[in-house]
């Protein structure tokens, strides 16, 4: 049960990553690998501030801003300097690795000292549910695990509602249009390059927020924690799309969250069944490969199947 709660919580926290990837990959059609660096950036900024005894809300928000700054740089490389989108992301991601080490001063910052959002949640949990384990539908779970899950859930629901509302404002619809049909929205007076930069800033801000929360949940920030996160986010978005079968805005946002949680659960189960943790990234990459290729292959297989059946 502890395993399940933990998987759910991490899945929810990483759904912010999935939402960021949704913006860059689906709205703007860019596989933005900056995310590998910005998730660590969010984690390291928040970790350093929390250890320095700053207010955890402030520390989390600073992480978000750091991610936005990273996304802005990637956006400027693409829009102003006309560098290939993929290469722009790679450049910023590579640069961020050094930046992150500088922010943290070492490769790993534990959050043992200092008050984080997780500490707050734990305190709140103990006043509500008491100090002992809590009986959840007949399972005994630790209050910490339970309250982390509830807290993450509340945060993610809020974030989703805010994002959904944003994408329905004048600014947000114009941003979606800038990804959907740049020529059209330019003819309607929108500076497409600027909106692209803003979109990537928002995407990487969400990714960094995810990193910040992840660091606070697991109790440390690490320079290596971002490796492969883009692929992880892509997997979540793709699973979400197959769950909802739709690209409409509300369902896409819901799908990204559901996809992230489901993917994390699958991984937790696979690890439990003896998947070597070293193979995890390879399996994730293969999964995304399959998800990208299968939709193209399916009609062909169906076609050849009907051809084979047809009388000659």
């Amino acid at each position: 049960m502890t395993l399940l709660l933990g998987a759910f919580t991490i899945g929810l926290i990483l759904s912010l990553l999935a939402l960021g990837i949704y913006i860059s990959y689906r709205v703007f059609d860019i596989a933005d690998i900056t995310a590998d660096g910005s998730i660590t950036l969010g984690a390291s900024i928040s970790a350093v501030l929390i250890v320095g005894d700053y207010n955890p809300l402030l520390a989390t928000f600073a992480g978000f801003l750091g991610g936005m700054a990273a996304g802005t740089v990637t956006g400027i490389l693409q829009a102003k300097f006309k560098i290939n989108p993929l290469l722009s992301g790679i450049l910023v991601m590579t640069g961020l690795y050094s930046v992150n080490l500088h922010v943290m001063g070492k490769s790993n910052v534990p959050l043992l000292s200092g008050t984080s959002l997780a500490t707050w949640a734990e305190r709140l949990g103990h006043t509500i549910f008491g100090d002992l384990d809590y009986n959840l539908l007949g399972w005994m779970v630790s209050v910490r695990d339970l309250v982390m899950l509830l807290g993450a859930f509340a945060l993610i629901v809020t974030a989703c509602l805010v994002l959904y509302a944003f994408f329905r404002t004048n600014l947000g619809t114009a941003m979606r249009a800038a990804g959907d049909n740049p020529q059209m929205i330019r003819a309607l007076g929108v500076n497409v390059e600027l909106y692209r930069i803003m979109g990537l800033a928002l995407a990487n801000g969400l990714v960094a927020l995810s990193g910040s929360l992840l660091a606070q949940y697991q109790g440390f920030a690490d320079a290596q924690m971002g490796i492969g996160m883009v692929v992880w986010g892509l997997a979540s978005v793709i699973i979400g799309e197959s769950l909802t079968g739709s690209r409409s805005l509300g369902l896409a946002i819901y799908g990204a969250v559901a996809g992230s949680v489901l993917f994390r659960l699958l991984v937790a189960i696979a690890l439990r069944w003896g998947l070597n943790p070293n193979d995890l990234k390879l399996v994730t990459a293969l999964f995304v490969f399959a998800a990208l290729v299968l939709p193209q292959m399916m009609p062909r297989w169906k076609q050849s199947a009907t051809l084979a059946k047809a009388p000659r």
């Binding site: 944003f166 329905r168 404002t169 004048n170 600014l171 947000g172 619809t173 114009a174 979606r176 249009a177 959907d180 049909n181 020529q183 059209m184 929205i185 330019r186 003819a187 309607l188 007076g189 929108v190 500076n191 497409v192 690209r247």
Partner: protein
Amino acid sequence: MLSVRNVTKTFHAGTVNEVRALRGVSLDLPDGAFLIILGGNGSGKSTLLNAVAGCFRPDEGEILLDGQDVTRWPEHKRAKLVGRVFQNPFSGTAPTMSIAENLALAARRGQRRTLGWALSHKLMSEIRDRVRELGMGLEDRLGNAIGSLSGGQRQALTLLMATWLRPSLLLLDEHTAALDPKSADQVLRVTEAIVKRHQLTTLMVTHSMSQAVNLGDRIVMMHRGSVAYRFAGADKQRLGVEDLLGRFEELRRREMLDETAASLLEETYV
């Protein structure tokens, strides 16, 4: 009020692919005028329209709109004054977004995009009314993705979007060329109605002679990047399709003469 003054544009200058697309084109379009630009392939008619829209900066010359020199304005800034319909019906609308959302985007053409709701109740009822006027039955499908509509429907909506806020200049770039005859007819009718109602200053590129004869109050015929003939007023009203074809034939013959003359000179002297 549009003034194009001596605009020149050469693409890929100094390479083998050099194209002198515009060679000193001048135009004056008073308020409320409807100009048809005719011309064969490569005559520079679309390039001229793109120059006015701001897709590129001319090498030389000036473009004035509403008394302002817009020559150096980027495309998105000119959009404040210019409404535009493209040749490709897919170019003018955002396919994954709904009909209502597309129109809401157009309702703020050239204005600041704020954090207010894109689809207020007031705007929604206005959208329903104006879409009903198109007579295509789309007013009941405002929530549908615009990508699910036919080319003709999308082009009619693009026209509505381009003119939602009254533009100082409406640009139509062969906007019926990619449609089947029936939809093309329908879109043309909508075009006429909208231009007449709002008394729009309009610049329309076409290669259809019959459209040129039936629409607009003046014609410019382009050839090899410059203006070959102009018709306006009574001349334009008297003009028939045969007259236009005659002028085209004339241009073609003159060009062939140029070529034969050139080869003759080459044989004699080289």
